[in-house]
């Protein structure tokens, strides 16, 4: 394989100049002529029947142009799990009852946000409060209040995964242990709050919506369902997005209400959440109770694993049902688990619902699994690195009926981390400790709960007569660098430069469907689509070049450095620009168009490929305050062929900040369904002084499924971070935890309990 020209080389962001000059436009920034500003009136009760809503006073306020309630909406229900209609449980505005504090019941559009805000105070809602339930274990009891009438036990979804013979294997195991965990939530807290602008065209009856979204297509479908419109009459455009981290997959009240208000007023309507709403009414990480039982041989080989999870789903489905499945899946990674059984239950509760957040179920699952692994290692007297090595997945491993691995660099990652840890952290001082973890993560999901007939990703390449390329992808760059990856892949495939390519991203009207940015799918799925599209265009160029060369069909031609030439005799070839001109002439003057798509086939139930890695964390514990200082991190990852090392590193470091937050300081305490800390003052995140330096090592492999062998990077690194911290704390001061958010008080309490023993 020849060395790549573009792939694998540190490449700056194609959106760089726009972002550093303030010119990049986010939905948050948008204004359109004659635009109105919308605000939502939200329920103060966690569970209540709506008796009446009187909007007459609000309508009279000067500057108010429309006030709507549930009865003014087209009445469609929506949600991401569209194949299971009973799970598309969201309404534009609550019609009969509200199910969490913040559930929207009315919306106002006015000439300024201030007037809309004031109008909310003039809307009179009569509620009949109902008993509410906030805890999953309580919610499934027979006498619990019923949150959705179609779900009498408040069980939103269940999942069962099984292979082998778990009961038999446990009987044969030398060592069996069970651990229980209570794993708490986390708010993704993207810097750009939810924002949408909707513009209804009175002439055609078509709608255009700009939104801070992770998936223009998902939003298009959600709007179509909510508004009972044909998808094709809704155009969704994704401007620059200020982060998502999982809470911008679902269709949310900002977009659907902006749409209805625009349809009612005939004017564009913008709805932007404030930060309090972002914390209290947008999706957060799924909290769960988790019980995990493991059976090992005395040499540490895993024989069986059994897990049960009950998740705190909140008031609606979102992607919480997928999290339920993936948590059960990630409990088996990254170790060979010959016998496995998982039962998961997702419950409804009267709180803002939990959905997908970066690492999508892996974070709590890997925390449980990796801390348990260390405990087992201690009990068996086996080195924690050794036990991981012994059980590590390898290429070709298969979990029957679920997934099969092609590339797998896990062992090399573990080796690298061990080598570096032993080299660097030789001088642990008192109360310092080291924790090691291993992990794996998917490259997009083989899931079609969205119920699409389309390929999971499609792309189009148009080569113009001057050699410039217009690349059309619907993939959603939300900061992770997908735009740059798309352009890099296209450049590599056509043998040209990034400067030759203009990207037209994320517009449902002009690009082929892509399912969006979640479960780390863009590089794998969109990347493959782009490569395929460019490949189709390349075929045309190569054919023209072959004809001009007059060469035998068996001789291969290659493209590189803006030339198209004979592989065996590189000096025999042509400039890309000349071939392009020729090709267009030969095609009746049509520009060169290449269309490609990708959908995983025959790759199991989960993902077409998996990335792997290992992480070492060094901490220092202050025994008197319980403060845990994360001093240093060493991590190695196998992402197949890294497309952009700059982007990959950035993503890994960011994912670790999120992982450390989940583990140490980010907490969403609630009281009767009310989130108590909905501001950046009270919700604590790691800042620049708190972050350790991170050494990152790339262990390249090649996965045949990925574009140029590429796999995902850095959604996986969220999950191993906190168990590595927990394992390091144990190594330092000998205390264990059954959950996360290891705030100083919690650590100190554990230390004192240990002392008392």
């Amino acid at each position: 394989m020849s060395e790549y020209s573009v792939i694998g080389k540190p490449t700056t962001n194609v959106d760089g100049a726009a972002k550093v000059t303030g010119e990049a436009v986010y939905t948050f920034d948008m204004t359109l002529p004659n635009m109105l500003y919308g605000r939502l009136l939200r329920s103060p009760h966690p569970h209540a029947r709506i008796i009446s809503i009187d909007t007459s006073e609000a309508e009279k306020l000067p500057g108010v142009k429309a006030v709507i309630t549930g009865k003014d909406t087209p009445g469609g229900k929506y949600g991401l799990w569209r194949r299971f209609r009973e799970l598309t449980d969201q309404e534009v505005l609550a019609t009969t009852k509200v199910r969490f504090i913040g559930d929207p019941v009315a919306a106002v559009a006015a000439i300024s946000e201030e007037i809309s805000e004031k109008a909310l105070d003039l809307i009179n809602v009569e509620y009949e409060p109902l008993p509410a339930v906030f805890e999953p274990m309580e919610a499934i009891k027979d006498d619990a209040p019923v949150i959705h009438e179609d779900f009498p036990n408040n069980i939103n979804n269940t999942r069962h995964i099984e292979w082998g013979n778990v009961d038999d294997a446990f009987k044969k195991a030398d060592y069996v242990r069970e651990d229980r965990f209570n794993l708490l939530s986390q708010h993704p807290a993207p810097m750009e709050v939810h924002s949408s602008v909707a513009s209804y065209d009175k002439g055609s009856g078509r709608l255009t919506v700009w939104s801070s979204t992770q998936s223009p297509y998902f939003l298009q479908l959600g709007l179509a369902d909510a508004l009972k419109m044909r998808e094709g009459n809704i155009r969704v455009i994704k401007p620059h997005v200020g982060g998502g981290f999982g809470n911008k997959n679902s269709t949310m009240p900002d977009s659907v209400n902006a749409a209805v208000l625009s349809m009612k007023t005939g004017r564009p309507v913008k709805i932007v959440f404030n930060r309090e709403e972002e914390f209290t009414t947008t999706e957060h990480r799924t909290a769960m109770h988790l019980a995990i039982k493991i059976g090992l041989k005395k040499d540490g080989t895993i024989m069986a694993k059994e897990a049960k999870i009950i998740t705190d789903g909140g008031a609606y489905t979102g992607l919480g049902a997928t999290t339920l499945y993936l948590a059960g899946t990630y409990l088996t990674f990254p170790y060979k688990t010959p016998n496995y059984r998982y039962d998961g239950v997702r419950t409804y509760t009267n709180k803002m619902w939990a959905s997908s957040v970066r690492s999508f179920g892996a974070t709590p699952a890997v925390y449980a699994s990796e801390t348990q692994m260390d405990r087992a290692a201690h009990d068996l007297g086996i080195d924690p690195i050794e036990i991981r090595r012994k059980n590590a997945m390898t290429s070709g491993y298969e979990a029957p009926g679920q997934y099969k691995l092609e590339s797998c660099g896990l062992l090399q990652c573990i080796d690298k981390v061990e080598e570096r840890v032993k080299e660097k952290w030789t001088d642990l001082s008192k109360d310092e400790g080291v924790g090691i973890t291993a992990f794996a993560y998917m490259c997009g999901g083989i899931f079609n709960w969205i119920d699409t007939p389309y390929a999971f990703s499609g792309a189009m390449v148009k080569i113009n007569v001057d050699g410039t390329v217009d690349l059309f992808t619907q993939a959603a760059d939300i900061g992770q660098g997908t735009n740059t990856v798309s352009v890099m892949i296209c450049a590599e495939e056509l043998g040209i430069g990034i400067e030759d390519i203009r990207l037209h991203p994320a517009d449902t009207a002009t690009t082929l469907t892509d399912l969006g940015a979640w479960a780390s799918r863009e590089t794998m799925m969109n990347g493959n689509a782009v490569k395929a599209a460019a490949g189709e265009a390349k075929k045309i160029l190569i054919e023209v070049a072959r004809i001009k060369l007059g060469e035998n069909i068996v001789y291969d031609l290659e493209v590189k450095d803006k030339r198209i030439y004979l592989a065996l005799r590189p000096e025999r070839g042509f400039s890309y620009y000349d071939i392009v001109k020729d090709a267009i002439k030969r095609n009746d003057g049509e520009p060169i168009i290449g269309i490609g798509h990708y959908t995983p086939h025959g790759k199991g139930m989960v993902s077409p490929a998996f990335a792997f890695g290992s992480m070492g964390v060094r901490v220092k514990v202050d025994r008197e305050t319980g403060q845990v200082e994360v001093k240093d991190i060493i991590t190695a990852h196998d992402c197949g062929q890294i497309i952009n090392p700059l982007g990959a590193r950035g993503q890994v470091e960011g994912s670790i900040q999120l992982g450390l937050g989940w583990g140490l300081c980010e907490d969403l305490p609630t009281d009767n369904g009310m989130i108590l800390n909905p501001s950046f003052v009270d919700y604590k995140l790691f800042r620049t002084r708190d972050m350790p330096q991170i050494e990152l090592y790339d262990v390249p492999t090649y996965d045949p499924e990925g574009p140029y062998g590429a796999k995902e990077s850095a959604e996986g690194t969220v999950a191993p971070t906190s168990p590595a911290v927990a394992n390091a704390i144990y190594n330092a001061v000998g205390v264990e935890f059954d959950g996360n958010v290891l705030k100083p008080e919690k650590v100190l309490k554990a230390l004192k309990e240990k002392e008392a023993q």
């Binding site: 962001n13 550093v20 810097m191 620059h240 982060g243 470091e653 620049t688």
Partner: protein, 164 residues
């Protein structure tokens, strides 16, 4: 009752009449259309709205616009020299110091204020200066490296200018 606000933004004079309750960030974004300065919180805790006021970096969301009366404001839009990026902006690009970019304007303005005051800051000094800025994407270290790189570039630029 509206009051007069006369101030200079990015070298241009403005004479506006605004309600006293208007925040500086509202004037910059909504009146003057300078959307590069962002808002990401309501409690003065994230510094996405940072701009430079009379040479000092401040949060434009936590000031009444009228408090800028008679003063000079520099926003992200005022950094580049025509079509030429400022060395700090280029350093941010070259060091992948942003991902979603929403906190970036604030980070760059704070970096500029820092480097104007301290041309050769240590890593610790950079972190102390930048600690008000929340970022959810980068994990911060690459921002620190970009600022260290920017310091070098600015010093080189000074040397070049002195040589001429």
């Amino acid at each position: 009752m509206k009051k007069e606000l006369k101030f200079v933004v990015n070298g241009e004079s403005h004479d506006l009449w605004i309600e006293p309750k208007t925040l500086l960030v509202q004037v910059l974004r909504d009146e003057l259309g300078l959307k590069g300065t962002k808002r990401a919180c309501d409690s003065g805790a994230c510094c996405s709205c940072a701009v430079i006021l009379d040479g000092k970096v401040v949060k434009s969301c936590s000031m009444l616009a009228l408090q800028a009366n008679g003063k000079e404001v520099l926003t992200i839009e005022g950094l580049a020299n025509g079509a030429n990026l400022h060395p700090i902006q280029q350093a941010f690009i070259d060091n992948w110091a942003f991902q979603c970019g929403f906190c970036t304007s604030g980070q760059i303005m704070a970096a500029k204020a820092l480097l104007d005051e301290n041309a050769n800051p240590t890593r610790e000094e950079i972190q102390m200066a930048m600690d008000g800025h929340l970022c959810r994407c980068t994990g911060y270290n690459m921002i620190t490296e970009a600022i260290q790189d920017a310091a070098k570039r600015l010093q080189e630029q000074k040397l070049q200018e002195a040589a001429q």
